[in-house]
């Protein structure tokens, strides 16, 4: 188990600045999620930690040791790829044991460690199959098994769930969380999906355009976003953000209020608007309202809330829930 410390990481590629000075500490045993839109540099940062890519400048420490110039194998890391990257010509057993056999471990040790990893991931019955005979979820498990068996100090995950369907994805989220609890290892997880970030992370790192916007626990980011970017990125549906009169009223440049922090009433309220569209989700509903003084306002209400498109409605922000930037 180990800490990961990044100091002033810069990355340039063909004159394009991909990372612009990243400083970050990941604590021992922490589940840390890098989240951000595509192109924000999160995958590059993960690859720099793994040693697959070199940073242009800056240092990386894993477990207190400077590994900036080390090869991936000497960093004590394991990585799970988005595409799983299972070796198609090897069986599940040989896939999981590949790294150990490269390290020339004794045959029976390899067998035991592969069996142990397979047991943990319920892969025992699949050990003799080839990757092409596995389902998406099973492949995902093999990829994780390949990482576990090497007993790394740090696990790296590069969008590992994005090739799975929605149902399987939510199942794997829970399994990964449990795995983290079992292994108690440091894990760094890259995703563009803020739901994955919120549900799994101990610590979320929000990246945007090559720099860190904010670091914090899921609830810190939800309740206290420090930048408009984080405010807009964390939470679904997105926070309503307005410039203009309403912001000035609070002596700010930007006024934000989450859809779930607005109350609707047919009779009275702060803002009067016309219901344009309703997304009925069952348990709750997302209501899009056009307010003359603001523009479009999105409100989350209970699914049973009775409302029709075209009707006039009043929306009121809950006391103390607004965000000012």
């Amino acid at each position: 188990m180990a800490t990961v410390r990044l100091k002033n990481i810069h990355k340039e590629f063909n004159g394009v600045k991909i990372l612009k000075g990243i400083d970050l500490d990941v604590n021992d045993g922490e589940f840390c999620v890098f989240v951000g839109p595509s192109g924000c540099g999160k995958s590059t940062l993960l690859r720099i930690i793994s040693g697959l890519e070199d940073a242009t400048s800056g240092t990386i420490e894993i477990g207190g040791k400077d590994v900036t110039k080390s090869d991936p194998i000497d960093r004590g890391i394991a990585m799970v790829f988005q595409s799983y990257a299972l070796y198609p010509h090897l069986t599940v057993r040989d896939n999981i044991g590949f790294g150990l056999s490269l390290a020339k471990r004794p045959k029976n040790e390899i067998r035991e460690r592969v069996d142990a990893a397979a047991k943990m991931l319920q892969l025992e019955s699949l050990l003799d199959r080839k990757p092409k005979d596995l389902s998406g979820g099973q492949r995902q498990r093999v990829a994780i098994g390949r990482a576990i068996v090497r007993e790394p100090e740090v696990f790296l995950f590069d969008e590992p769930l994005s090739n799975l369907d929605a149902a399987l994805r939510s199942k794997m989220r829970i399994e990964l969380t449990e795995l983290h609890a079992t292994l108690n290892a440091t894990m760094i997880y890259v995703t563009h999906d803020q739901i994955e970030a919120m549900t799994m992370a101990d610590k979320i790192v929000v990246l945007n355009a090559g720099h860190i916007e904010q670091v914090g626990t899921p609830m810190e980011l939800y309740h206290h976003p420090q930048t408009p970017f984080v405010a807009g990125f964390i939470g679904s549906p997105k926070m309503n953000l307005f410039e203009g009169a309403i912001a000035k009223e609070h002596n700010a440049d930007l006024y934000g209020i989450r859809p779930e922090h607005l109350t609707l009433s047919p009779k009275e309220g702060k803002w009067k608007g016309v219901v344009k569209h309703i997304e009925q989700l069952g348990a709750d509903a997302i209501v899009h309202i056009h307010v003359e003084s603001l523009g479009m306002l999105v409100v989350r209400v209970d699914g049973d809330f009775s409302i029709t498109a075209g009707s006039t409605i009043y929306a009121t922000p809950q006391e103390g829930k607004e965000h000012l930037f």
Partner: protein, 274 residues
């Protein structure tokens, strides 16, 4: 199938057989005739069926030259292809995986190999300097040099379809560069390797020009050269000459029967990309 298609098909089949099969029937018939009958050059049925006699005569000719030729051709073909597959796969791998400013230059060299006719006399001069002239291993290396471009291009385009994630997973697993290639990439190249082996073995086995220049002399005779040598010797024994042609045609025929699809795929897939 429509009536019209059937009628057209029958017509096409008749014409096709006439143009593309009769020459082979001619070869086959002449090969089993007596010398006198063969010199008539007709398509007539042999009055005497001398398959065995002619076969033995051809094999025994010039102190079993044909057997030596088969041995030499096999050595050259197998040797050259083993080297070609490994070296071309390695080159294709690096130039596909490692884009650099050199790639344009390397690519130009590869195309040059497809296009430029080899400069034969300077090559002979060089082979002599290297003591490779008139040797089987010299011939093997020549075939590697001449077949490299085509093979590299085939490997390169196939390797482009193998995700880079696999290399990286292997690197994370602690593989050295040569382990990434030999343990992960090479086993995945089986389909294209089969193609390269088939296409190149037909090419090398059928090669006449290069052995003619670089491998003169009786000891190093190859299968195609026996034809050339026998052409003058057997001018009055057309039956034996054609028996020889028949024997030379058998290896590609066997390849063709078993691997027709892969050969076609290799020759056209390598080609359509240009």
């Amino acid at each position: 199938m429509k009536r019209q298609q059937i009628i057209n098909g029958v017509i096409a089949l008749v014409i096709g057989v006439l143009i593309f099969v009769t020459p082979f029937i001619f070869i086959g018939l002449t090969a089993v005739k007596s010398a006198a009958e063969a010199s008539q050059l007709g398509l007539s049925w042999p009055s005497e069926w001398l398959f065995w006699d002619n076969l033995v005569a051809v094999i025994q000719a010039r102190n079993y030259m044909l057997l030596l030729a088969y041995f030499n051709s096999t050595v050259i073909t197998v040797g050259a292809i083993s080297l070609l597959v490994i070296s071309a796969a390695m080159i294709g791998y690096v130039i596909q995986r490692r884009p650099s400013k050199w790639n344009g230059f390397i690519y130009a060299l590869i195309l040059a190999g497809l296009m430029i006719p080899p400069a034969v006399v300077p090559t002979i001069w060089l082979l002599k300097e290297l003591h490779l002239f008139k040797t089987l291993h010299g011939m093997i290396l020549i075939q590697v040099a001449y077949g490299l471009s085509f093979s590299v291009l085939l490997f390169r385009s196939f390797i482009a379809s193998i995700p880079r994630d696999l290399d990286e997973a292997a690197i994370i697993d602690g593989a050295k560069p040569w382990q990434v290639f030999f343990k992960v990439i090479l086993p995945l190249l089986k389909p294209v390797t089969v193609t390269v082996i088939l296409v190149q073995s037909v090419t090398i086995f059928n090669d006449f020009t290069n052995p003619l220049y670089y491998l003169p002399g009786k000891d190093n005779v190859t299968v195609q050269l026996t034809l050339y040598n026998f052409q003058s010797q057997f001018s009055s024994q057309m039956n034996l000459l054609f028996m020889n042609i028949l024997l030379v045609t058998i290896p590609p025929l066997i390849m063709f029967i078993f691997f027709n699809k892969q050969i076609v795929k290799g020759m056209t897939a390598g080609a359509v990309k240009g």
